[in-house]
C-alpha cells in the first residue's frame, strides 16, 4: 500500500480514473463488503431499505416537516404549553450540565469527506441528500469553529472514483464556507472512493504537531466504494497516525465504515431522517473529551502542553507596502510578529523567521465561554409582598415588563409563573427570553458582566 502511495495514485483524474479503478483486480478486496460492483448496487440498496423500513420510519414516509411543526397546539388550541416545554428543556439541560470545566483538546484538525457520488441525488431526504448535506455542512462548519476556535478544517469530495480536494486546511470559517458555496461546482457524479479520499485526507494531516487532534468526518450516502487497493491498509494507517474517523451514513450501515469508526475511536451513525441527520452530525461539534492520561498509564500519553504564542498587530490595507516573509511579496496588509517584527500574511501560523506560533487572540477567546459558563438562573416561584414593591417590574437586561403566566397553564417544573429568572450571583431578575439568550449566545450575565 505504502509503495503505491504516490502522486499518480492519489490524484488520478476523473476520466482515466473510472476505468483504471474498475479494471483494477484487487479493487474489491477490501471495500467489497457493501457490494461487488456498479451493476448490483441499485438492487442491493433496495433490499437493504426493505429490510430496514419495518423497524424504523424513513424520512420519505413522513410528510415534510419544518422544525416549527414540532411545536404543537394543546387541547385548548394554545401554543403556550408546548413553547414553555421547549424553553424548559433548554433550561433543564443547562442545569444538568456539570458545573466544572471539562478537559477538552481544543486544537483540532478535521477533514470533512463529502460523498458527491450520484447516489447523493436520492430524494429520500428532502430536497435531496446532496442539498441537505451541503446545508447541514455549512451550519456544522459555523458551529464547529465557534467551539473549536483554533481548529482547522479541510474538505475533500468523493466522486468519479477519486478523492477531490475541495478546500485546503484552513482556520477561517469564512474560507471553508466559501468552498461549500457553489452547488454547481460540487454537483454529484459517478462513484465514490472511500480509500482514495481517506488517503488524501490522511496525507494532508501527516505533518501536524502532536498536541492537536486529527479527525476525519465522512458523510456517506452510497453503499459501495471503488477502491484501488486494500482499504484495510488505509484503516491500519489511520490507527497508526491516530486519526479518528467518524461516519454519518445517509443510506444504511456499511461494515467497513463501522470498522473505521470502531478501530479509530470515532463515532458511527445512520441518519433516519433529516432531523436525525443533523442531530448525529452536530454531536461531532464539541471537542472529544480529552482521554484521561490515566488510560495510557500515569505520566504517559498526556497530550497537554503549555505553548508560547504571539499575538500580532494587524496592518491595514492603507499601510506602506513591505515584504512579507512567507511569500516574499510586497504588500500592505499583514500581521506583525510581536517577537521579531516579521510581516506574515495569514494567521494562525508559525513565524517563518523566529518560529513563534502566531495566533489571533480573539480566536483563543472564542472558546472561553466553555471555561467560565454563566451560572444557571433559578426560576422565581413567588415574590414576597415586600419584593413586589422593591423589585424592578421589568427584565434587568432588556427592560421589557415581566409577563406573568396564568396560573392554570403552568405545567413544567423549572418554569417561573412570574417570568422571572434570577441570577444566583447578582440577584437580578431576567425574563425567559433573556435567560436563554444570555446562556446560549452571550455567555455574560448583564448584571455580573
Amino acid at each position: 500500500m505504502s509503495g503505491r502511495h504516490d502522486k499518480n495514485y492519489m490524484d488520478v483524474d476523473s476520466d482515466s480514473g473510472g476505468s483504471y479503478i474498475a479494471d483494477d483486480p484487487d479493487f474489491n478486496e477490501g471495500g467489497a463488503r457493501g457490494t461487488k460492483g456498479k451493476g448490483k448496487k441499485a438492487v442491493r440498496r433496495k433490499e437493504t431499505f426493505k429490510g430496514k423500513s419495518k423497524e424504523q420510519p424513513y424520512a420519505w414516509e413522513a410528510s415534510y416537516t419544518r422544525s416549527w411543526d414540532t411545536v404543537q397546539e394543546d387541547d385548548t388550541g394554545s401554543l403556550q404549553n408546548s413553547v414553555q416545554d421547549l424553553l424548559t428543556q433548554g433550561r433543564r439541560r443547562r442545569l444538568l450540565a456539570p458545573a466544572a470545566a471539562i478537559r477538552r483538546t481544543i486544537i483540532r484538525h478535521l477533514v470533512i469527506l463529502l460523498d458527491l457520488s450520484s447516489s447523493m441525488m436520492d430524494r429520500d431526504m428532502r430536497p435531496t441528500r446532496f442539498d441537505l448535506m451541503l446545508e447541514y455542512t455549512r451550519e456544522f462548519v459555523v458551529e464547529w469553529f465557534d467551539q473549536n476556535p483554533l481548529g482547522q478544517i479541510g474538505v475533500v469530495g468523493m466522486r468519479g472514483g477519486v478523492g477531490e480536494r475541495i478546500g485546503e486546511m484552513v482556520g477561517n470559517p469564512q474560507d471553508v464556507l466559501r468552498c461549500l458555496e457553489s452547488r454547481t461546482k460540487l454537483e454529484p457524479t459517478g462513484e465514490p472512493s472511500l480509500q482514495n479520499a481517506i488517503e488524501m485526507a490522511r496525507a494532508s494531516m501527516s505533518h501536524l504537531p502532536t498536541h492537536s487532534s486529527r479527525e476525519i468526518l465522512i458523510m456517506y450516502g452510497s453503499l459501495t466504494t471503488v477502491d484501488p487497493g486494500n482499504i484495510h491498509d488505509t484503516l491500519d494507517a489511520c490507527v497508526r497516525d491516530k486519526i479518528r474517523v467518524s461516519v454519518v451514513a445517509l443510506a444504511a450501515e456499511m461494515k467497513i465504515c463501522r470498522e473505521f469508526c470502531d478501530k479509530t475511536g470515532g463515532s458511527f451513525g445512520v441518519a433516519l431522517n433529516e432531523g436525525h441527520f443533523k442531530d448525529i452530525l452536530f454531536e461531532l461539534v464539541p471537542p472529544p473529551a480529552q482521554r484521561a492520561a490515566a488510560a495510557a498509564g500515569p505520566g504517559k500519553g498526556s497530550t497537554a502542553d503549555l505553548m508560547m504564542m504571539g499575538f500580532p498587530t494587524r496592518l491595514p490595507d492603507s499601510s506602506p507596502r513591505t515584504l512579507c516573509v512567507c511569500h516574499s511579496e510586497m504588500k500592505s496588509e499583514g500581521f506583525i510578529c510581536p517577537r521579531c517584527m516579521a510581516k506574515l500574511c495569514d494567521i494562525p501560523t508559525d513565524c517563518d523567521i523566529c518560529g513563534l506560533m502566531i495566533v489571533s487572540s480573539p480566536h483563543l477567546a472564542r472558546s472561553y465561554h466553555h471555561l467560565f459558563p454563566v451560572k444557571a438562573y433559578t426560576a422565581v416561584m413567588e415574590l414576597t409582598p415586600e419584593e413586589r414593591n422593591t423589585r424592578l417590574k421589568m427584565c434587568y437586561a432588556c427592560s421589557s415588563p415581566f409577563k406573568e403566566l396564568q396560573k392554570t397553564t403552568i405545567t413544567a417544573p423549572g418554569l417561573s409563573p412570574l417570568d422571572r429568572y434570577r441570577c444566583p450571583n447578582c440577584k437580578n431578575d431576567y425574563c425567559a427570553d433573556c435567560d436563554l439568550f444570555v446562556h446560549d449566545v452571550v455567555h455574560v450575565c448583564p448584571g455580573c458582566g
Binding site: I106, M308, S318, S361, F372, G449
Partner: protein, 314 residues
Amino acid sequence: MEDSPSHLSLVLDLSPTQWHLCSTGENPLPLNAFLAHLLTFLNTHIASKHENSLAVFAALPGKSEMLYSSTDPTPPEVTDTADSNTYQPFKALDSAVVNGISRYMDAVDRNAPEAPCALVGALTKALCYINRLNHVPIDNANLAPTIPKAPDPRILIISVSPDLSSSYISLMNSIFSAQKLKVTIDVCKLFGPDTVFLQQAAHLTGGSYLNLEHKEALLQYLIMTFLPPPKLRRYLATPTQDKVDFRAACFCHKRIVDIGYVCSVCLSIFCSPLPVCSTCRTKFPIKTLQRLNSSRPPPTNGVGKPKNGVPTSR
C-alpha cells in the same frame, strides 16, 4: 441614507474620574459640551429616517442602566410639561438622557474609591435589547413575516476609560454574540490612549474605530463616521480601520500581553510559564517548562514582567 432604516444603541462610558480628566487638561471637553454634540447627533439619527430606532445605555461605576429607548420613549421620571416649540421625540430623548446622567453624576460619592465602569454590563444589555426587539414573538411566528424592529442594528460605544483587562473575557464573549446577531460595533474613543479590546470589537464586527483628536469637531466626526448605517458605509468614504492590536489579557495578573503562554487544553493565557494550569488544573511537562523558561524574552524595560510565580495581588 434614505434607503433602509437602522437601529442604533448607544453605550456611554460615564466614569466620573475619566470625565473629570477629560474636562480639564489640554484640549478639554467638559461633559455638558459633549452632551450638546451627542444629542444633536442622536436627534439627527432619529430624524433622518422615520423608522430609525434608538436606545441609550449608561455604563456607570459598578452598574449599567438604560437611559432611553425610542420604543418606550417616556420613562416615568420625565414629567416636564409639553413644550410646543420642540419636536416631541427630541424633547423626550434629550430630557431622558440629560436627567438620567445628572441623576447619576449627582449621586456619585466623590470620596469613595470609584468602582470600574460596567461597560460590558451596558454592552450586554444593549445586545439583550436588540435581541428582544428582533425576536419574533413565538405566537405570531407562523403568521405574516414581521419586519425586525431593530433593522441593521449597531452599537456605538463612546469610551473615555482605558482597557479594563479584568473584563477581557466577558467583553470578548459580548463581541462574539454581536457577531452572531450581525450587530456592528462602532467605537469612538474620546479621551485617553487607544483601547486594544475595543479596537478588536470594532474590527471583529466590521465597525469603525475612531480615536478623536480634534474634540471641537466631535459632532462633525460623529455624523461623518457613525451616522451612515453599516450597510451604506462601503459606498461612502468613511475612515478606514487603522492598525488592530491583537494583544490579550493574561488570566493570572490581568496584564495585557503580546506574547503569552497558552494551556493547550483550555487555551487560558498566562504571562509566564507555570507548572499547572490555574484554570483547568492540567499539569504541564517539566521539559516544556525548562524549554520555555530558558527561551523567555528578557523583561521589557521599565514595566518589568513578573518573575516566576508569586502573583502580586493589588
